[in-house]
Symmetry: C2
Subunit: 159 residues, 2 copies
């Protein structure tokens, strides 16, 4: 085992720490046979909202991970604006979720993998609020792989 | 009182009948000091979902009239797709709600007045599903006037 001296420990970027939490949410969706997307919302280094995709279980297209995380975070802080908050989500938000993010005026969105088909960038990158900072590619490989596995299994189970 | 003989009665277009129901929902929002937008969803001539804007009361930007109506209608029919359904909404949907409408694959959207600032057309008219028929301008004057009155009163109460 390598022994590090003080201040020399390899650090994990904060974005990765929280994306791992979003990924855990995505795993919950995967286990529930839902498209595996997960999200958390962070304020001052604390998770204040979580969500994973539940559209099948709830028969509700609005039950995306981000939408539930927005509602949970707003409920937690008692305000509809998510200033000074960051959304971590495993896959690029769709138009609906990006539109919701606009209304929250959330400060930052960090997502894992791009969604080439239904991600909001494919339509218009300006859907989110102009003050919202966007970071992409955090744990991109893992987030994308979880999606690929899910749809691969779906195709196999159909044959 | 004018007496009509059979078959001569003036008919009210069906879209107006249901838009009046959406307008009633908008009035509920108005009375609750919410931006006055209301919606209903209709299938086979029957209302299967209702909603009015509750973003302030719930501290939740996702609580738009349409979103609640989508959830209610899906819950009613036990399915997430709203094929053969029509959304009636007093004001043009925003990007979030149009994005949700895409996922529902709803057959038709009828709205009252355009929202020049935040309506989805201002960004991209193709957000909704390609199979969704769009009708605008039903009770346009009344729907727009309700919004104008609301914001006028807001400005007056601030001075």
């Amino acid at each position: 085992m390598k022994v590090y001296s003080f201040g020399e420990e390899p650090s994990v970027p904060l974005d990765t720490v929280f994306m791992k939490e979003a990924y855990k949410e995505a795993l919950l969706a995967y286990e529930a046979d839902e498209v595996p997307i997960g999200a958390v919302i962070v304020a001052n280094g604390k998770i204040i909202g979580r969500g994973h995709n539940l559209t099948e279980r709830l028969n509700d297209v609005t039950a995306h991970a981000e939408m539930q995380a927005f509602t949970a975070a707003s409920n937690y802080i008692g305000a509809k604006y998510l200033h000074n908050c960051t959304l971590y989500v495993t896959i690029e938000p769709c138009v609906m979720c990006a539109g919701a993010a606009y209304w929250t005026q959330i400060s930052k969105i960090v997502f894992g993998a791009f969604d080439e088909k239904r991600g909001y960038h494919s339509l218009n990158g300006n859907i989110v609020h102009p003050k919202t900072e966007i970071v992409s590619g955090v744990m991109e490989k893992e987030c994308a792989e979880l999606m690929r596995n899910f749809f691969l299994n779906k195709r196999i189970s159909k044959t």
